[in-house]
Symmetry: C2
Subunit: 237 residues, 2 copies
């Protein structure tokens, strides 16, 4: 049986490993897409902002071809929109988008709860997200609480055990981040829901899946209503 760590063949292996961590992630266009994605999610590029090809090319030191390949990926992820002959812009989600985002959450998260098998399911990620949220709430780090809330609900979706649905929900949360960026102060929205996450977890972990699914459905309906009302004041139509 192979040892988990092979003896180094020569002194370059460390160097190669270091390069791996940078280059193994894929082609340059993939790396560029990763960088721009982070800038958008962090709010450095806000919804509606134009992503100028010449500016970003010179800033990142890549050619237009490479950048345009990166844009294609981001368009498919719905983080940016491409207007023919006008360029690429960070997406500004519509009210309808918000409604659909919460439809997705309801369908996928509720299906995960409903289908949970306590004999095989690993609830550790849920427990961990709740612990994180509690600790961060004690420090009054509400941004951290918001992120832990997201982790908790991503962990719920992950109970479906489907890489494909994980990817869908990742895209959903990314687009919700755009919504939060439009609304300005994002994470205060999550704080009041912390105790409801605890209640949902308790219900699931004790096998009361029907109760848990109902609570989750109400949670999402309330959250959607709150976001929807606030967002309606900020976007046209």
């Amino acid at each position: 049986m192979a040892s988990p760590v092979r003896p180094a063949e020569n002194k370059t292996s460390a160097v190669l490993a270091a390069r791996r961590s940078l280059l193994d992630r894929g082609s340059r266009s993939t790396q560029i897409a990763d960088i721009i994605r982070l800038c958008i999610l962090d709010g450095e590029f806000l919804p509606g902002a134009r992503l100028s090809e010449p500016d970003i090319c010179s800033a990142l030191g890549v050619s237009r071809n490479t950048l345009r390949e990166a844009f294609k990926s981001l368009v498919e992820e719905r983080l940016v929109v491409h207007e023919l002959n006008r360029g690429v812009f960070v997406r500004v989600p519509t009210l309808e988008d918000v409604a659909e985002l919460y439809s997705c959450r309801r369908i996928v998260e509720c299906a995960a709860i409903r289908g949970v098998d306590l004999a095989t399911a690993n609830l550790g990620a849920l427990q961990r997200a709740l612990d994180d949220a509690d600790a961060l709430a004690a420090q009054e780090d509400w941004t951290g609480v918001g992120n832990a809330d997201i982790d908790f609900h991503k962990a719920i979706s992950a109970l479906n055990d489907s890489r494909r649905l994980d990817r869908l929900m990742n895209d959903v949360w990314n687009e919700l981040r755009l919504v939060f960026h439009v609304m300005g102060d994002p994470h205060t929205f999550h704080q009041p829901y912390l105790s409801r996450n605890h209640a949902i977890y308790d219900a699931v972990s004790t096998g009361a899946v029907v109760v848990a699914e109902r609570m989750l459905g109400e949670y999402l309906a309330d959250a959607k209503e709150q976001i929807f009302a606030a967002y309606a004041l900020l976007v046209p139509r």
Copy 2:
């Protein structure tokens, strides 16, 4: 009411209209992606096939840059896979992919049935797909029956009234087409399920959504089992 053909303002309008029909669909890379997508779905490029840049460039008369942008979209749609420094290949779905495909179908289609509101829902598309399937079955056009089966189940998903989920399921069906292409004779799988589609429709349209959802769940479990068993003989692992 506007005439379907507006009076020509000048002689160039016809030329412009002709160009529109080609160009209005988006950038050239988008058009190229559309063409390649159709080739893959039609089985002209089979799973595992390599998509050579020089070959396709010369065949379609576009530059490599444009083609590579098209590839990026198709990668994101999961129709092709990109291997660094090796090129682009039509995806060969794994057994696990098949399982996840049917997980998605179960979750999204069952949610659609469960959430249906007969007061507002439009079941016309379901009825139409069933009528088509019946007519085609009478002609023993089993490929047509298969396509009508797909239409019926896409129409079920569409009851969720979410563009986002429609897109997800479109990608799911595209990937299932890859599975069918690997299996050779695809559409005979659909034929035995025709009567079960009728039963599901009857249950939904009479308001028996709980019954309908159970029947749909069993339908999908059976279909998954059949495909899974056949596919396991054809792909490694």
